[in-house]
Amino acid sequence: MKSFSYERADSPAAAAAAAARVPGAKFIGGGTNLLDLMKLQIETPAHLIDVNDLGLDEIESTDDGGLRIGAGVRNTDLAADPRVRNDYAVLTRALVSGASGQLRNQATTAGNLLQRTRCPYFYDTNQRCNKRRPGSGCGALAGVSRQHAIVGSSDACIATHPSDMAVALRCLDAKVSTVRSDGTRREIPIEAFHRLPGDTPEREHDLAADELITAVTLPPPVGGTQLYRKVRDRASYAFALVSVAAIVHRDGRAQVALGGVAHKPWRVETAERELARGGDARTTAAALLAGARPTRDNAYKVTLVERTLAAVLAQARESGS
């Protein structure tokens, strides 16, 4: 690891102020991805601000009946919360399908959103990677791209976002709350939180350097049958090749988001209209993946999305009847 200085902040304002004060500072929550990347010197923060003492580890009901999840709530605690299990099952299902028991005990809500891609070309510092070293090229494009993105990718980057939690949050229309050192607060809809790679794959979100995530807010419960189906190379402890988060209502309406296929959780409104009109998995998957640019290695994901969606819709019909 490169040398860094360390401090433990005691309030969100103090953490944001510290980030504004020290160039190259980063917040550290669980550390399960940041420390991993620091050991490889892919991340080289000059200063670490420990955000585990900010009092952001509560899950509270909001006035409109939704849930406000503190940024520091551990993945395990979020998945186990009775309100989440009962009213937002897609979120519990997504969380428990990710990582391992150890990592879920450490990983925070905000950290999960901010984790970096697991593209092997990003992780291997001998390889070209526009995300790790802008302008160096993309090793994955002409390399082994079996795990990579099929939609929303660019000539600069075909990496995927690895989070399961974020796919469920996209399905639930969550909002991300932040605060800056000058006290400015904002609420970012989850669909606008993660960026597509375009020409700047090194920028994965629009947060300012001194902007701290304080909470993620869920709307009031939406009901429906909530499912998360993750297809991966082994039954546990692996990233998604394709995942489908779905909230299916009896009247045919549904919210559907995909993981493992893009640089961000992938949700397409026209596909949901197609479903509401009585469309099947084939026509819905076609709408979800309109404009897809798979590589030779990952063209199978197009079929896998359709089949996984078909399985999810069948399961929803079964459990809804």
């Binding site: 690891m1 040398s3 860094f4 200085s5 360390y6 433990r8 550290i28 669980g30 550390g31 399960t32 420390l35 991993d36 050991k39 670490l48 420990d50 585990n52 395990t76 998945a79 186990a80 299990r85 009962n86 099952a89 519990t92 299902r93 428990v96 399908s97 990582a99 391992s100 028991g101 150890q102 990592l103 005990n105 450490q106 039954a235 546990s236 402890y237």
Partner: protein, 222 residues
Amino acid sequence: MERFDPERRRVLKATAVAGSAVASAHLLLQAEAATASANATRLDTAATPHHDVRLRVNGTEHELRIDPRMTLLDTLRERLHLTGAKKGCDQGQCGACTVIVDGRRIASCLTLAVMQQGHEITTIEGLGTPRNLHALQAAFVKHDGFQCGFCTPGQICSATAMLQEIASGIPSHVTADLTRPPRSSILEFRERMSGNLCRCGAYSNIQQAIAEVAGVDADEIV
């Protein structure tokens, strides 16, 4: 069984540095000095401000001055000489470094020691002793839950906390009904232990050891 003695281990290490199994006391001292100075050089050139930390490990408070880059794993092993937790991948993927912090299992390679002040850290050395084995340690011995043994401390720390997670109602990927507390089963154990890899492939015996302690039929069809 002999009690683990960190002093003996240090002498063995120094002997290895000296390159002789019959090194004189003089050589040993030289070797220790050389090792110490090499370590000091490596840390000094980094010019990282050190931190005075208090760590509570297995019920004992330790005051240490550490480089903030020290992971909890490195601190346990290199500074406190608690070498039960192992460095396998050092990337949080293998589970060999699993320890229990405030009752929760974590990967000690993916947290900094400076972040763990004020917490109750339990390592395999704190779970049981050779004369008074923890129930899972005894079960691992009985069911031959290991071959080389490298992953075993992590497996046992993980299993200990894993059973507690089930008892406290935390669901897993294979919990069918999220509205009810999960029940111990082979299926649950297999899913929940996936963060601990065993290259010897002693999984079925590990599963039996855990099942016995949890009072679950190990032959249950999964």
